[in-house]
Amino acid sequence: MIKTEAYEKALFETIKRGATEISPDVKTAFEKAIEKETILDAKKGLLATLDSMEMSKERENPLCVDTGWPIFYFKVGNNCELEGGFMELENAARRAVAKATELGYLRATMKHPLTGYDPGNNIGMNIPDFTYQFVDGDFIEMSYAAKGGGSECFGGTRHRIVAFADGIKGIEKFVIDSFVASARAGAVCPPSVLGIGIGGTANVAANLAKEAACLRTVGSKHPDPMFAKIEEDLYKALNSLGIGILGAGGDTSVLAVNVEYAYTHIAGIACATSTNCMVARRASSRIDADGTIKKMVSPNWFGDR
């Protein structure tokens, strides 16, 4: 049985790492973008962003002032036993978010949607958000993602039902039109990690898009060549537009395009997008049945991608 103390400790460390350390795959994507950038001001902007992100680790401060919606993903072994059960896991996550806020790793950003009341600790109705996936085994893997306000509020998250008559062309047109509109003047903080969900009901597509944006390893490809081709075609198309860092002009508008899919109804294809901002914050940890905590370099949410 995994003790409360162990998973609470891992939760806090994962939040702190997600908030203050750039993920290695995002860093690699930044380095590539800097190398190929031909617009001098954009190159300087990318360099300044990467420099600042590296300083955050040392200074133990947030990568960006907007520390986003706190979101947790748990990949749980079917035989995993937690002291206090899964309700206590969620309580521990809430305590860890509150502690991280108190210590300044997170900004007190979550507020009541109607009154504007700020609880000061990022805890409230349905926040943090929790998602579970069940697999064989007796371990638990946890990922913390911080979904930034810019990336979420300016149309980076959209949905449309595309008719089978329009197929892939309809999907690609929807994605390109949506991204251009949302990235105007840098609203969604490009270069983005663009997640796309295809199929399922609208909420399934939206969840897949968010997971593709927040949990796929940047630089990975979908194993199915049909979906890998959509990723590659859209990556090239979006990076040909000249949107650049914070929308002020540049060669890199997306760091990655990640597609995930579900089977859909004969009536139509739900299609959703979710952009993650350039800092693409997340961190993951694994706890084995004996309580051993390991830091993970990648969330492993979609297996090896």
Partner: protein, 207 residues
Amino acid sequence: MAEYHLKGPLTDEDVTKLKIGDTVYISGECFTCRSRLQKYIFDENNVLPFDTENRNILIHNGPIVIKENGKWKLVSFMPTSSIRFEKWGAKSVSEWNLKMIVGKTTMGEETAKMMKDKKCVHVSPRSVSPNLWIDSIEVQDVFLYDELGRIEAAWFFKLNDLGPFIVDIDCEGNNYFDHLDKDIEHKKNEALNNLGIDDSFEFTKLY
């Protein structure tokens, strides 16, 4: 594209020389603002508890500030998107006599028109680099802390060559991003064509 190092309080002369695409670094005194402050003043008819005459630079921002050894310490800073405050933009420029708004993205047409009338510019960051900025910012004071909360209170900052920012709305009412949009739209049509989606494509209407 010229580069300017400006010091507040800003004069008409300081800002009218700026053109879209220019780079600016800012020194001097400014205050922060998010939607709760503008709502509190303009929608709920409260009075701004300080004078903006010698503090005519506004930064759209909700900083992370903590108290350490009895003194305010800035933990993180990044301008937030101005466009979401468009509702109060023109009023802020005219009633607060602003000469410069610092924010991510840009402002809309109504604010740009007021900026032209009152001689004010909007400038936007080109990176997300809080750690390269916080050492150039001194926290001086805070107003409406109890009323609006730690993030949305009006913080007084003293800036020391903070930048670089790009001028995206100048005093002639030009918008840098409008110009860029035309180019992006053209490239978008090319990209769609390359994917076999021609100009005549229309979505099958499902609703």
